[in-house]
Amino acid sequence: VKPDVKDICAGALLSLVGLFFFFQALDYGVGTARRMGPGYFPMALGVATMVVGLAILVPAFKRSGEALKISWRPIAAVLGSILAFGILLTWTGLVPAVLATVFIAAMGSEVTRPPATIALAVFAAAIAWLIFVVGLNQPLPPFRNLF
């Protein structure tokens, strides 16, 4: 496939990150090379990142590369499960958080069947409770705000 979409996206993203850090750094006070302010180093890095981003972006237009194929399903499932864990851990406690994490993460795979997932979730909750609460004495109540 022409052009190399993958590298065009990567280069563009990198340049944007550089641009963001650059502008933010200007607010922090750049100072001079002799008396550097807190923004001096990030500003220089921002410029360098933009340059490298463009160096990846521009040549990519002239060559062909792999087609861009993103598997949204596992990305959404795994990141979603991490998010759920973070929200539920302090809200409803360890056990519901682990159960939700396993259910959501398992949705990322096409071959998982519900009975296996339920068994897996219970198993994971038991392991997590045994290691982190019983074994390591972490301050993690198994249930919270539920009853």
């Binding site: 550089g18 850090f21 923004g39 890095l45 795994v78 499960s81 994971a124 390591l136």
Partner: protein
């Protein structure tokens, strides 16, 4: 010899033996399973080590690190899927061997060459460290700066077909390193009002987000075959020809591995790849490579193990981590109040020599784990990945949370990478 007077008595205490065993056992398991690497395993166990004394913690974490290099070849041989990136080259010749019914021999030979590679790596570590410490003691800030530059540029340049992308990753790392309070002015940068970002983004969170979580996502999409078969002891006995042809490649591989391991930014993967190329180049019949030659199995396995051991050289003698995994182990040392660097061998000889003595013990344990107990690992390979990864996600979340009991850190482990600001771990600067 401090190794025998200080090291072995510490490493062979019952507690430390147990932690050493636990480390190499988990390391092998993690290595065997594709889709979970040493980094994720170390980060998961990091909070557990907070409760241990420093030597035990390091013995456990290091055991995981070099143990994965043993386990990693198992999946390469049986499934043609490398357990860790460093074992990818091994699959080229060992999988065809397995298809010809020589899986047992490949499994035995990779364990034996791994052991020899490790042994040569440890000897290099013991011989070179005092010399490097002598030089490093005279280093001033300028020398450390030059060394850091070399490390960063080597990361970008070595072993990458596109150095510009390596450079891009170095820059992203440095950018993320600027998050948090500026050490010189005390000004908080890029924290967007979040109190939690004042201290910057911790290396554990970053490593898990960038390498742990992404590895899981990538592995879910790849279809995982499970292995259904058995490996008998009888099938593991190599022929005299196999052994004779493996000697020189193993030694060459260990030499190449020792060199690449000690270079920052190189490491086991590159060592394995390079030693395979060398064997192919000097072979009288290079066309046979990729079609089950024993040389192509022995050399890279010796190389990646030797590299895993010598990777400790820059970390222990100068306080410079050569890879992300080493950076996490270094972070663990800092948490326990030990600053790696030229003074460590004098200030904490028990930690330094105890750790090295544990390498010897760990490798002997690994040899036992990987030859007589190979059946256990073959069983583990029969667990399908889709049943495994949700549990790994849970353990990763809990591990990251436990580092400082913060939900905020879990949210941040969505993909990022960072290099530690030099002042955090370098003696003599800032």
């Amino acid at each position: 010899m401090d190794l025998f007077t200080i090291g072995f008595p510490i490493a062979s205490s019952l507690d430390n033996l147990i932690y050493c065993f636990l480390g190499v056992f988990l390391g092998t398991a993690v290595g065997v399973l594709p889709g979970i690497g040493p980094l994720a395993a170390i980060a998961m166990l990091l909070p557990i080590t907070f409760h241990l004394d420093p030597v035990a913690a390091l013995i456990l974490l290091s055991g995981i690190y070099y143990g994965t290099e043993y386990g990693g070849s198992t999946a390469s041989i049986l499934l043609n899927v490398p357990g860790t990136a460093a074992n990818a080259v091994t699959a080229l010749d060992s999988y065809p061997m397995a298809q010809q019914g020589r899986a047992g021999i490949a499994l035995l030979m990779t364990s034996v060459t791994s052991f020899i590679g490790d042994a040569i790596g440890i000897v290099t570590l013991i011989m070179l460290s005092p010399l490097i410490i002598q030089i490093a003691l005279s280093f001033g800030p300028t020398d450390y700066f030059a060394l850091m530059m070399l490390g960063l540029l080597a990361t970008a340049g070595i072993g990458s077909s596109e150095p510009i992308k390596g450079l891009a990753s170095v820059l992203i790392g440095l950018l993320i390193g600027t998050i948090g309070v500026d050490v010189n002015t005390g000004f908080a940068r890029y924290n967007f009002g979040f109190f939690e970002l004042f201290e910057g983004i911790s290396i554990v969170v970053l490593a898990i987000g960038l390498f742990g979580v992404t590895e899981i996502i990538a592995s879910v999409t790849r279809s995982h075959k499970a292995y259904h078969g058995k490996v008998s002891f009888r099938s593991m006995i190599p022929t005299g020809d196999d052994m004779r042809r493996s000697v020189a490649p193993t030694l060459r591989g260990a030499g190449i591995g020792s060199f690449f391991g000690a270079l920052p930014g190189a490491g086991p993967m590159l060592a394995a790849f390079f030693s395979y190329l060398v064997e192919k180049r000097i072979s009288k019949s290079p066309e046979r490579f990729g079609k089950s030659v024993i040389e192509g199995v022995a050399a890279p396995e010796a190389a990646n193990n030797a590299a895993a051991q010598t990777a400790f050289i820059p970390m222990l003698t100068m306080g410079i981590p050569g890879s992300t995994t080493m950076a996490v182990i270094l972070g663990a040392m800092m948490i326990h109040g030990i600053t790696p660097g030229p003074l460590m061998i004098q200030e904490h000889p028990d930690v330094f020599w105890g750790l090295i003595a544990s390498f010897w013990i760990g490798n002997v344990l690994l040899l036992v784990l990987n030859i007589p107990l190979v059946g256990l690992w073959v069983c583990i390979l029969q667990v399908p990945y889709h049943l495994l990864y949700p549990v790994i996600v849970v353990l990763i979340c809990l591990g990251v949370y436990s580092v400082n009991n913060s939900v905020f850190d879990i949210g941040r482990s969505a993909p990022f990478r960072r290099s530690i600001p030099p002042s955090r771990y370098m003696p003599g600067t800032a």
